[in-house]
Symmetry: C2
């Protein structure tokens, strides 16, 4: 569709197929969901060569930024249930991207750390994620991108007390 047609459709609340969005277009939650699906789609394609999914990339970044932390701490920070993080760590160890070390102070917990291979993959990931971010924000200028980040941060985290 042309830019003019898109503008007309947006104004009338219709999409490409001629369907009316009804009130959906005015809902933050709906727009958020649609935007997120689009972003994940691009992320998945971008990171397929590295064999990393969004949650795995987040986990590697977090382990790298917080070496020695436990599985519970990393999982909690990512909003992943502890049982579901076990399989992810298993795969990281299988691929030699991260290691579980027995904690010296509490033998129940595992001190996590990236391997050299993990650090190397993460360096590649940082390059790829930069291109990915540029692509998804292609229709935003730098001011708009910063403002979007700020507003999302206001929406996302728990309220300060």
């Amino acid at each position: 569709m042309t830019v003019a047609a898109a503008a007309r459709a947006a104004k009338s609340g219709e999409d490409a197929g001629g369907l009316s969005e009804g009130m959906l277009g005015g809902l933050l939650g709906y727009r958020l969901r649609r935007a997120q699906l689009k972003v994940f789609e691009d992320f998945l394609a971008s990171f397929a060569p590295l064999g990393l999914k969004p949650a795995q990339f987040s986990a590697l970044v977090l382990i790298a930024a917080n070496p020695g932390r436990s599985q519970r701490e990393i999982a909690a920070a990512l909003g992943i249930q502890r049982p579901n993080f076990v399989a992810m760590m298993d795969e990281f160890e299988r691929r030699a991207l991260a290691r579980r070390h027995r904690s010296q102070t509490d033998r129940r917990s595992h001190a996590l750390a990236l391997t050299e291979a993990g650090e190397a993959l993460l360096r590649q990931g940082r390059t790829i994620v930069a291109a990915h971010e540029a692509r998804i924000a292609a229709r935003l200028n730098e001011t708009e991108r910063a403002e979007l980040m700020r507003l999302l941060a206001l929406l996302g985290p728990a309220a300060a007390d």
Copy 2:
């Protein structure tokens, strides 16, 4: 945590547990995902009394705004695979919220429409969703909310040609 502590944590890239977010805090995709999880959480709690999940509410809104459209059309507009929309329509019919009518022009397709009960439930939904939206945007003023909607719309839909 106090507002001052939160501000300090945000500046240093740390969360409530003292973990560094690393580069995650600077990624649109990450902020988008976290914000969306929070929004869905509130939506789920808000709509539990109506027995509606986000995808179901979206479907009811879309059917109401586009009566007579086919399952393929509604599903495509929502980004749902056609096979997966069958079970949703089955439940709508079981709960007498929507009906499948044989199309007069193409006997393969179903013309969808809400029942009176469906319209009534949707009216309740509109009230609830308004309160929900107000809650999730509580820390945004009206200008900020409008700007967030605009920026998300730029992110979400396919590029105009």
